[in-house]
Amino acid sequence: MNTETVELGKETQEYFINMGPQHPSTHGVLRLLLTLDGEIIKKVEPHIGYIHRSIEKMCEHDSYQQIVHLTDRMDYLSCHMNNEAVCLAVEAGLQLEVPERVKVIRTIVSELTRLSSHQLWWGVMGMDLGAITTFLYGFRDREMITDIFEETCGARLTMNYNVPGGVMFDIHPNFQKRTKEFITHFKKKLPEYEELLTGNVIFEERTKDIGYLSKEDAISYGVTGPSGRASGFSCDIRKKHPYSAYDRVEFREVIHTDGDTYARYVVRMDEMRESMHIIEQLIDNIPEGEHKAKTKAVIKLPEGEYYQRIETARGELGVYVISDNKKSPYRVKFRSPGFSNLSALDTMARGCKIADLVAMMSTLDLVIPDIDR
């Protein structure tokens, strides 16, 4: 289109447009400053900070038990994994050995969280492209998982189920039954998802060869998680640096090499199957024992630096804690997956149209509170 205008001999002028902060497809308060030539995107400049709550600074005044609930509010769709990352960092600092039962429970709940996050992403992805149907279908199946969480953890979204040393309560007696019910239910429903969206001609036209991200770019921007793996970047922390019970389960790291929007979609769909596979292996083999290791009422980490990385539904979350042997940390830094994934948006979007930008953003699966913290 750009060349056409040149041929016609008409001078075109670049112009700017604000997408957001109150735009339904930015999934929160993200403002994108777009430089456009007609409908072609020349540059994308994300402006963030609209939902900054200074979580890292607040951590410096809170005890180690109190930090955990703040991380719920970062990436609220993978809240259990965020909590787990903080707890693992604190446990590493205390050199505390958590019971086997805790490791397995944490892994199962993590995978359920990943499933619910991907279900919501699938629904919202369809809605961004103009199909409200998928949104309702995704939420229908997600409801079963939130019910499991509500029964065992006490809340649907911001669960705060982890505490340093274990989990807050033992699993509810119904937990295993309900989880198995969900797995059998969702195994039937996942093919429905595929039929509704994957093969659809409109969907394919809007996602294939759109928003290409090469493997080199993915690595240099630090794009991790399903978005990175769709570009061929093998970055699954569960495989590379196993934590909790991931060393004893068998699963496949889903990697595609296409690097376009469709590949990112397919990776997430396959990851849902892998998550179900992991849960199936563990749900009948939860070891008996305590649900929490004994910790002191006031936790003081020995002086030093502790880093824990973890695979959330969006990519690699790093928790970096510096302790000066007081009851609250000297400094906490979160390396959030959303922030790094967003940085690649400019490279992906150049030369595409505005409508494609929406598709790209929804497959990057941005959660804005995670970017701002």
Binding site: Q66, H69, R140, E151, C153, A155, M168, E195, N200
Partner: protein
């Protein structure tokens, strides 16, 4: 020949597109004729039958028994455990009429619901299990001041045998 081929491809594309669209329509059509599989709850109407799970975190309450006695000794463990300053415990000195000893007792257990993040840390911290989370989730009020609650009933006392 060339035209015939392109026409054939065009028709093929149209048929493929229609087929993929109909696959999606089949699913939505199935649910249209099976309304029993739809899970919508009629919320305000089903209030009487709607039961939350036992561990659901609605709001903090102080448990009172039928003699208007509670288990809170006023140790402030929950106040320290709370990350947001939601709980405020105001103590008073009470003189036991029998022994003449002066003991600490709670005057007011103030709970600021507007600051609560429902993290459950206060419930875990409580050494006497005096507080718990209720299943009530309808917190909407007309004025913000109504969210600051005094949890101990007027005239309530400490349950005997708790302090030991």
């Amino acid at each position: 020949m060339k035209i015939a081929k392109s026409v054939a491809r065009y028709i093929g594309d149209v048929i493929y597109a229609l087929k993929t669209l109909l696959t999606g329509m089949k699913i939505t059509g199935y649910y249209f004729f099976h309304p029993k599989e739809i899970l919508t709850q009629q919320y305000p109407e089903n209030r009487d039958t709607l039961k939350m799970f036992e561990r659901f975190r609605g709001e903090v309450i102080l448990i009172h028994d039928e003699n208007n006695e509670h288990k809170c000794t006023g140790c402030s463990a929950c106040e320290i455990a709370c990350p947001n300053g939601t709980i405020e415990i105001i103590n008073k000195r009470e003189v036991d009429p029998e022994t003449g000893k002066s003991t600490k007792a709670i005057d007011k257990f103030v709970y600021h619901l507007q600051m609560c993040t429902f993290c459950n840390l206060c419930i875990i911290a409580c050494p006497t299990d005096a507080i718990k989370m209720s299943q009530d989730f309808e917190h909407a009020v007309f004025d913000r001041t109504q969210l600051t609650k005094v949890l101990n009933n007027p005239g309530s006392k400490l349950m005997p045998g708790i302090r030991e």
